[in-house]
Symmetry: C2
DNA sequence: CATATTGTTCGACATAACTCGAACAAGGCA
DNA sequence: TGCCTTGTTCGAGTTATGTCGAACAATATG
């Protein structure tokens, strides 16, 4: 498996990021990653099928919210916190702290 | 025209608010209101037809982002800043300050 | 009352988005 | 090599969302 493409910080679009966060499944993923730091896809699958999760990870990746690092067979995901904070100060924190 | 229903602070849903903000037209409306304080629908219509704008205002209203006050024939819109800030601290500011 | 102004509502259409099974790809290991 | 694990990709189906014209409602004004 080839490495993923991650968008550059300067190209993050606010509406794209907001749309990516505006889904319950993805919000759950983001909050989980905020707690554990890094996780592979499997550990994040609740009751949803793999293909659905793969889709959500792609949306999050394409928007710039997370990064996926390949290690063997596993794909390790983590938030791009510093970059997100640089481009959209306070946004991620507000979302993570929200009820 | 009867007064509008505005959702209660405690019922604001993060995903609903994010989805409402995740549209270019609505983001423009929100940013404009942040600048001018209050505005009726007509002054916010760019090239879009009235029915489209009415739809966007409804989405923003239903999510809790803005309030609409009826004064004669005009409907005056303004952000529910304090309430939004109470429920989602920092969120609106992050969105308004974003590039 | 007649008319203009402001917006809403309705209905239809187009497009985007989420969901999920099935097939596929790549790495690790016996 | 054969098989298991981890995810992706594809395709189809369903639902949600945005767009816009046309008709309607409410208020103000001549």
């Amino acid at each position: 498996m080839a490495a993923y493409d991650h968008p550059d910080l300067a190209t993050f679009e606010l509406t794209v990021v907001l749309r990516a966060l505006a889904d319950p499944a993805r919000l759950e993923i983001v909050r989980h990653l905020a707690r554990v730091g890094e996780a592979n896809c499997a550990t994040l699958i609740g009751t949803r099928p793999k293909s659905s999760m793969s889709h959500h990870f792609q949306v999050l990746r394409d928007s710039g919210i997370l990064r996926t690092r390949i290690e063997g067979v596993q794909h390790r995901n983590s938030l791009r916190r510093e970059e997100l904070d640089t481009r959209f100060p306070g946004l991620l924190m507000a979302v993570l702290n929200a009820p």
